[in-house]
Amino acid sequence: MIIQQTATFITEKLAGEPEKKDPFLALRSLEIDAELVKTFTPLFEQAGFRIVLDAVRDPTGMSRKLTLAKNGGSSLYVIAVDKCVLGEFTDVTFSAFNTLLYLFGASSKVRIISRDLDVPDLGFDSIIEQWEQFKKISAVVIPWKHIAALLRENDSETRFQKFQLIFKLEPCDKPVSQAAGPITDAERDDILRIMSAYASGAFNLTPQAAMQNLVLAADFPDAGNFSGSWSGDPNSNSLRLLKWAKDDHLAYPQNHPRKGQSMLGWLLKALHDQTISSEDKVILARIVVDHALIEDAAIVSNLRTEASDPDVPRHQP
């Protein structure tokens, strides 16, 4: 043991072991350094973005500064994550890195730069994939070698092309279709009423099981994540699920057969297909058709036929 420790000490000294950092402390600041700000600012401006210093808050309210590129309604967070976090996958670095999930809102776009790191350790890619599934956060770790190449590039045109490429500035996610404007308050109340009634009166199912059945029927990505977290109150469950799907304009991820389509649309379709009254089916069909929430032509055609039922009165505008 003594021999082992002595030999370890000597070899580590010879190798010049770097000083270890606290991953949590390292993530207190997410600002990119001055050299990168100076380099990126004109490039972002050329791409139509405006660079601002922004701050996000963690669940305890602690503020963390970072760089935000804004282009009208579109925003891109550019953050620096220390190599001591992404370079080594342990319980500690996993916990530290995953705190970022709770800093950004749904559908945020994040570009992560880690000085001197080209490839994050195995495991971090899976975390980022989960962020996409969980909150539609599109995060990309930019290899440092690309940044270094950008810093070395002298030709302004080539530099801009490289910049666009590595920051993936091309629009990657199309906005969810809201053809006929947002859902009205009256429609929202209808959905809540129908969903709550279904959850509380579903045949042979508890309110929790009924809600789980709904997200499974809508084929939400990782529907299993919802399981075990429904409350016994159908109203609050419905309110939360609707708020989640509607207010965040969530769309199915790129690897889903319904990629890019509104999750709200398919949630309403799933609810429509449950054992509910025929009048409620017509109401749901109208909401889906009126707001073009589903892109499948055959399904939309059927729903349109159903929605035209003259016996069910429409809401007055």
């Binding site: 021999i3 082992q4 030999a7 370890t8 070899t11 580590e12 190798a15 270890k20 950092k21 606290d22 991953p23 949590f24 402390l25 922004d54 701050a55 996000v56 808050r57 669940p59 305890t60 309210g61 001591c84 370079g87 080594e88 996958f89 342990t90 319980d91 500690v92 996993f94 916990s95 530290a96 995953n98 705190t99 709770y102 950004f104 809102g105 749904a106 350790d121 195995l122 495991g123 890619d125 899976s126 975390i127 989960q130 969980f134 909150k135 990782d222 299993g224 994540n225 919802f226 399981s227 075990g228 977290s229 429904w230 409350s231 016994g232 469950n237 939360r240 699920l241 708020k243 989640w244």
Partner: protein
């Protein structure tokens, strides 16, 4: 005992195990055989090592292979080289003694033959010792008996970091081998010393991680006993078979399930156990304010960040269960504290993320529970009391995941 995550092919990992085990023994012992200039023996000895490597596989008969990266395979062999080289170095002294005596004293050839025989027996004895000690360590690395997921065996090691050391080590060994062949046979023994020096830091890192992955303190054993008494099945070994996903779920210390409902447990304690093992080994020497190492720091209440990875890790378990077709309709993450307290941010975070938070009272008779000193009825009562195994208490008034995680920014 249940194992999940059997890779589709069990032959390839077993064949690789035999090869790597063989290498870890052969590399340090071959220089001794070259030192005594009996290269033809080498084949016999190596064949014996190979047979032993294959026979040691019988231990791993029922265990699924752990998915490992090529870097991990390489480093496990390097780590084994330290112990095996030390044994080989000790064994070599028998031959050194005989050589020196032969050059100094004019003993009869019969006496010299006896001495050579003793020296050979000495090497065989130490070779057998190396085979017996290295085998279980390698088996545990490649075919672990217990554990959720697969934490990296060598956190902090990467190819660029080990490349120059490996190249320098190999060049030195080649140079010494050449020197041993043409001029100075003792250079072969210097090879063994070089192997020891080069492999020492890797071996130290491997030992640290072994403590981390195999620690199962009495409080954790008590929780296992309580879950068993409540009808839960403990997944002794749970892995998805994908390295990246398995690293995520390795954050959990225990996974148990009953009728399709699973509990994924993370255990935090002050004095001993898994958390302390992480702290004492500093999770590959990283210093962390959230995983404190000193006694004083361990008294601090835990903040929300200790639970920040659980939802993501649960997702990986779902992925794994789905892949392995294991019925887990719902998985409840559960953070159990013993001798630690939770601050307001952790309590609030667990509530908003539907993570069960249990603080075990320090008066709980965990040792007695772990040793099975209570009746089944008492055990079930303890389970209800300490772990709140009335599962409704976890699911009531919780927001579905993802519904209440908006950044306030």
């Amino acid at each position: 005992m249940e194992y999940y995550g059997t890779p589709s092919s069990q032959f390839v990992p077993r064949a690789l195990f035999v090869f790597l085990f063989f290498l870890s023994i052969a590399i340090p012992f071959v220089p001794i055989l070259l030192f005594i200039q009996r290269p033809w023996w080498t084949f016999g000895i190596l064949a014996a090592c190979l047979v032993f490597s294959i026979s040691s596989l019988t231990e791993a008969r029922s265990r699924p292979a752990r998915p490992v990266t090529n870097l991990e395979r390489f480093l496990v062999v390097v780590a084994s080289l330290f112990g095996n080289s030390a044994i080989a170095f000790v064994a070599a002294w028998g031959f050194i003694l005989v050589k020196v005596l032969a050059s100094w004293l004019a003993w009869s050839s019969l006496f010299m033959r006896i001495l050579w025989g003793v020296a050979i027996a000495d090497v065989c004895f130490f070779l057998l010792s190396a085979l017996l000690t290295a085998g279980p360590a390698l088996l545990e690395a490649f075919f672990p008996k217990t554990g959720v997921g697969n934490a990296s065996l060598f956190p902090g090691f990467a190819w660029p970091k080990v490349a120059w050391q490996s190249v320098a080590g190999v060049l030195t060994i080649v140079l010494l081998a050449y020197l041993g062949r043409v001029a100075w046979p003792y250079a072969y023994l210097a090879i063994i010393l070089v192997l020891m020096i080069v492999s020492a830091p890797v071996s130290t890192a491997f030992d640290r991680q072994k403590v981390r992955t195999t620690a199962s303190p009495p409080p954790l054993e008590a929780i296992k006993a309580l879950l068993n008494a409540s009808g839960y099945v403990i997944a002794e070994r749970l892995q998805t078979g994908e390295v990246a996903l398995d690293r995520l779920i390795a954050v959990f210390d225990l996974v148990a399930h009953k009728e399709g409902h699973a509990l994924a447990i993370v255990f935090k304690t002050s004095a001993s156990g898994v958390d302390a093992a992480v702290a004492s080994t500093s999770a590959s020497k990283s210093i962390s304010s959230e995983y404190p190492t000193s006694e004083g720091e361990r008294d601090k209440p835990l903040t929300w960040t200790v639970a920040s990875s659980l939802r993501t890790a649960i997702w990986a378990i779902y992925k794994g269960a789905e892949k392995q077709k294991v019925k887990m309709a719902s998985i409840q993450p559960l953070l159990i504290l013993f001798g630690r307290t939770a601050d307001a941010s952790l309590v609030e975070f667990c509530k908003s993320e539907s993570i069960g938070l249990v603080v075990l009272p320090e008066t709980a008779p965990l040792e007695g529970i772990a040793k099975g000193q209570f009746s089944p009825e008492q055990m079930r009562m303890f389970a209800r009391e300490y772990l709140e195994l009335n599962l409704d208490s976890y699911v009531m008034q919780q927001a579905p995941p993802g519904l209440a995680t908006e950044s306030p920014a």
